[in-house]
């Protein structure tokens, strides 16, 4: 027996038509907002196909005859339902542009322990060891004798200008590219030796690398199945990234921010002790960036090893505890974020109505003085207190006295801008004695 609800159930199951329960009668089958031209084209095409089939059958029977009087009526009666169905299937629904972005869930702050929840850090901390790694593509050297180690329990930022070799290094660590020489080990093993690597390393190289036509749920399920991870965990990571409400939508319809979250969900599938993320904040809004930052900090606090690459210094400054900076494939710096800032240029800015006189006094006191465009003096080799005392001692009025640090951004630019001049082990420009001695 033909029933409307049965038809609708079938259409819903096939995801062929947007079936609105609220609409009265059969109206719910009409796609709201679909262009009427689609219906016209579908009907005309259906009639044409039916006519063609009629002619083909005639030709095949070896005779050509004129359509009988009822022929056209038959063709139209047969093809109109097909045209209507084509309209339902292919008529683009314009009322819902894209997929609604679901809210980002709150990340639990596991740095302060949650009462009642046992903290379980990874059974053994895992170190990523890159040892004298070189990768050449033809005559181009992408990574040049690079050595560094990524320690557990911290968020390590992997920084470098575009084309510095960050992604190539990550690809070698993940076994996608074979190194020309040197090794990249995760927990002492080559990536290719892992049978179920997602249990060891969660990674995200390119968030836009998604199958456009596959629903997010099946995308994650396929990855999970290959590593023996169950459906329950797939649902969990979808909830964790707030994508559970759109799990049935095709990944190609997602916005860039949602794709990033889907990529993070895939990286977290097996709850791995190591996370490798390439540019994880690209395309995220401020809320999403804060979400990632909290997530990474929470996971690092559990003793995981986390390496995130970026070319945005300001972002790294707030997320990473440790920095590995490369330029043109070589190591420029491997230092903690705080140390990197303190090791860079600092001076004292002083503004005085008797600047010329003050400059002479300061120079006599052993400082290097440089005049700035607005009449201020940039003093190096003497701290702000000494400058103030000296000025007071000579009775020179001081209108402004500021101790200045180069921002992390400037330090980074100074370092990478001249990346050919600095090899690994060379002290940083204007390095502090502590940094140079290290």
């Amino acid at each position: 027996m033909f029933s409307k609800s049965l038809l609708f159930t079938v259409l819903r199951a096939l995801d062929w038509a947007r079936v609105e329960d609220s609409a009265p009668g059969w109206c719910c089958l009409v796609r709201p907002g679909a262009h009427p031209a689609v219906l016209v084209v579908a009907l005309v095409a259906a009639v044409a196909v039916a006519f063609l089939v009629f002619c083909l059958v005639d030709l095949a029977r070896g005779r050509v005859r004129h359509l009988p009087k009822w022929g056209w009526a038959l063709i139209i009666c047969v093809s109109v339902p097909w045209g209507g169905l084509a309209y339902l299937i292919f008529g683009k629904d314009r009322t819902t542009p894209g997929v609604p972005v679901p809210a980002i869930p709150r990340i639990p702050d596991v740095t302060t322990s949650v009462p009642g929840v046992p903290r379980k850090p990874p059974a053994a901390p895992v170190v990523i060891d890159v040892e004298r790694l070189t990768k050449r593509f033809g005559s181009v050297t992408a990574v040049d004798d690079l050595s560094f180690a990524v320690r557990p329990g911290t968020v390590t930022g992997f920084l470098g200008p575009n084309g510095a070799g960050k992604t190539t290094t990550l690809r070698v660590i993940l076994g996608l590219d074979a190194p020309t020489s040197g090794t990249a080990l995760v927990g002492g093993r080559r990536y290719q030796e892992f049978i179920r690597p997602l249990h060891e390393v969660g990674s995200l190289l390119d968030a836009t690398a998604l199958p456009a036509g596959r629903p997010a749920w099946f995308h994650l399920l396929a990855i999970a199945q290959s590593n023996g991870i169950g459906r329950r965990r797939v649902r969990e990571v979808l909830e964790l990234t707030g994508l559970d409400s759109v799990a049935g939508r095709r990944a190609g319809e997602f916005s860039l921010g949602m794709k990033q979250r889907l990529g993070i969900a895939a990286a977290l599938l097996a709850d791995p002790p190591v996370l490798l993320l390439d540019e994880p904040v690209n395309g995220l809004d401020p809320e999403g960036i804060r979400w990632i930052r909290q997530l990474l900090r929470a996971m690092a606090a559990e003793g995981r090893t986390i390496l995130i690459s970026s070319h945005l210094m300001s972002e790294m400054a707030q997320t990473a505890d440790h920095l590995i900076i490369i330029g043109r494939g070589r190591l420029l710096a491997d230092t903690s974020t705080a140390e990197f800032v303190s090791s860079t240029r600092r001076d004292v800015r002083v503004l005085s109505p008797r600047a010329g006189e003050l400059a002479g006094v300061l120079a006599a006191g052993g400082a290097a003085v440089r005049a700035e465009d607005d009449g201020g003096l940039a003093v190096t080799g003497m701290d702000a207190a000494a400058v103030g005392d000296l000025a007071a001692g000579h009775g020179i009025a001081v209108h402004e006295l500021i101790a200045r640090h180069a921002s992390l951004e400037e330090a980074y630019l100074a370092l990478t801008g001249a990346s050919t001049d600095y090899r690994a082990g060379t002290p940083l420009p204007d390095a502090s004695p502590a940094a140079a001695a290290r």
Binding site: I107, V117, L176, P197, T208, P211, R214
Partner: protein
Amino acid sequence: MTAAQLRGGAARPAREPPAPSRLVHARDVLASEWTKLRSLRSNRLTVAIAAAVTLVLTAVVVEAFATAPGAATHPAPVDRLAASFLAYAEYTILPVTVLSVLVFTSEYGSGLIYTTFTAVPGRRAVLAAKAAVTGAAALVIGEVLAFACFFLAQAIFSGRHDAVSLASPGALRAVLAAGVTLAACALVGVGAGAVVRHTAGAIAAAVTVVYLLAVLCMALPEPWNIRLGRFTLPFAAYAEVAAHPPGGLLAPGFSLLVLIAWPAAAVGAAAVVLTRRDA
């Protein structure tokens, strides 16, 4: 949302359980590839349309064949058994070959292949799983459609009292071989996709093996056209499905070897190339 959920619940062990056996690993990768294959709506839709078109055109072709003027007096170049598969040879085999090419090239095109290879670093395991799943799906589709085409065609012929029954010599072999041919073409597509990596190029390569080599051989001078042509996929398949194949073609047993050799070569080439190249 609690820390336990972030970690995946207290019941889950923090680290990987002991390494899985080869059998479990194979099952995992097969399940993953099967999920990928079945979760694309375009795959289901294309196969459904291809099946519908094949059946309609089989009816059209066979009807034309049966009612052609002089069909009774002049022997047709194609016998009634092979005529069942004329539409199948194009409207099933071509779409399925293209879908098989896409198994690899769509992943290379979108960059998804990196995700696949980081989840399963053994690239030959990935190739084997993709080939097995695609080949098995093509075999099932092929056998179902081959039987459908056969019975449809013979039903039309029987209206004119010259049908071939499944029990007549060579008929069952022909129907089974038609399904095997679809699996062979699908595997050629998978191999071509893995070797060439770009969709357009890989489709060109696969179609060359599946169709064009035979056409090229036909352009050769007289004794050589059939001498070389019998080693191509279409002629090997024709030797299997025809009740009375024209002289010069290989015997059905050898033709079956040819039907196996082409996909084996394609997948073998893919296995060599995949492990040597960077992903």
